[in-house]
C-alpha cells in the first residue's frame, strides 16, 4: 500500500510542480504549488518523518503560501498574465531536460546499498534532542537569519510607508 500512496503523492508533487511552471494564470500556479507542497508533506509521512510533514504543512501551507498569495495580489499580476514566460523558454526546457537526464543517469549508474527498502523511523523526541544538543549553534544562527529577514522586510515596508 505504501507504494500506491507513494505514486499518488509523487504524481501530486510532479503535477503540481508542472502546474507552477506551465500554467498561464499565476494564481492557479500558486494553487498548484500548494498541491505540490502538500504532496511533499505526504512523501514525508511515507518516510515516517511525521514532524517534518506537519512542519511542511504549517510553514509552507500556512506561512509561505500566504506571503506568495499576498504578493500576487499586491502586484496585480492577473492583468499582466500574458508575459509570464520569457523568450528563453525553449532553452530553459533543454537545460532542464539535460539536467534531469544527467540526474537519472547518475542515479541509475550508482550502486545502491543492498537494503534500500529498509527505513529507520525517526521519533519526534529524538529530533528535539538532536536539535538542542548537536545543532545548537545553527539553531541560534537560524534565529539570527529570521531576525534579519524580519528587519529587512520591515525596512522595505517602511520605505513604502514613507512614500505614501
Amino acid at each position: 500500500m505504501t507504494e500506491v500512496f507513494f505514486y499518488i503523492f509523487a504524481a501530486t508533487v510532479i503535477a503540481g510542480g508542472l502546474g507552477v511552471v506551465l500554467l498561464r494564470n499565476i494564481v492557479y500556479s500558486a494553487l498548484t504549488l500548494i498541491a505540490s507542497l502538500m504532496g511533499v508533506a505526504g512523501i514525508y509521512i511515507l518516510l515516517s518523518v511525521e514532524f517534518l510533514a506537519l512542519v511542511q504543512v504549517l510553514i509552507y501551507g500556512g506561512a509561505v503560501m500566504v506571503l506568495i498569495l499576498f504578493a500576487l495580489m499586491l502586484t496585480r499580476t492577473r492583468e499582466l498574465k500574458d508575459n509570464l514566460d520569457g523568450d528563453q523558454k525553449p532553452l530553459a526546457a533543454v537545460a532542464a531536460l539535460a539536467l534531469l537526464g544527467s540526474f537519472i543517469a547518475a542515479i541509475t549508474q550508482t550502486t545502491w546499498p543492498r537494503d534500500v527498502n529498509q527505513i529507520t523511523t525517526v521519533p519526534f523526541n529524538d529530533i528535539g534532542n538532536a536539535l538542542f544538543e548537536r545543532w545548537a549553534v545553527p539553531f541560534e544562527i537560524a534565529s539570527g537569519v529570521l531576525l534579519v529577514a524580519l528587519v529587512g522586510a520591515i525596512i522595505i515596508a517602511m520605505q513604502e510607508e514613507g512614500e505614501r
Binding site: V66, F124, A149
Partner: protein, 124 residues
C-alpha cells in the same frame, strides 16, 4: 508496528480530504439539480450595493497586511522549533532552556523592533 500505525493514522487524514470534498461536491451537485440557475445578465454582476461595479476590482489592498504576513512567517518558524523543545524540555535540561530563551529573545527583539518602528500601529 508503530510505523504501520502511523501510516494508518494518516490514511484517515487522507480520507478526510476525500470525504470532505465528497460532501461539498454532493451538496453542490444537489443544489445544481434542485436550485434554479439563471444566466440573466443583471443577476451575474458582482455586488456593489445595487450599483454597477465601478473601477477595477482586483486591485491593491493595504501593504500592511504583507508585513503581518512576514511577521507571521517568522513566528511560525519559531513555533516549529518550539514544539520539539517544549515536548522534550523535562529531559533536555538547562542548556536547552537558555538556548531557547536566547532564540525567543532574538525574535522578540525583532518584534520589538517592528513595534518601535510603528509597523504594528496603523497610523491615520
Amino acid at each position: 508496528m508503530p510505523f504501520d500505525a502511523l501510516l494508518e493514522n494518516y490514511l484517515a487524514v487522507f480520507l478526510a480530504t476525500i470525504v470532505g470534498a465528497g460532501l461539498i461536491a454532493t451538496a453542490l451537485i444537489a443544489a445544481r439539480l434542485l436550485a434554479p440557475f439563471s444566466n440573466q445578465g443583471n443577476k451575474r454582476t458582482s455586488y456593489e450595493c445595487g450599483m454597477m461595479p465601478i473601477g477595477q476590482t482586483r486591485t491593491q489592498f493595504s501593504f500592511r497586511y504583507y508585513i503581518f504576513a512576514i511577521l507571521f512567517l517568522i513566528f511560525d518558524v519559531e513555533a516549529v522549533f518550539l514544539f520539539p523543545w517544549a515536548a522534550n524540555l523535562v529531559n533536555a535540561g538547562h542548556a536547552a532552556f537558555w538556548e531557547m530563551v536566547l532564540f525567543i529573545g532574538i525574535l522578540a527583539a525583532g518584534l520589538a523592533y517592528a513595534w518601535k518602528k510603528g509597523v504594528l500601529q496603523w497610523n491615520k
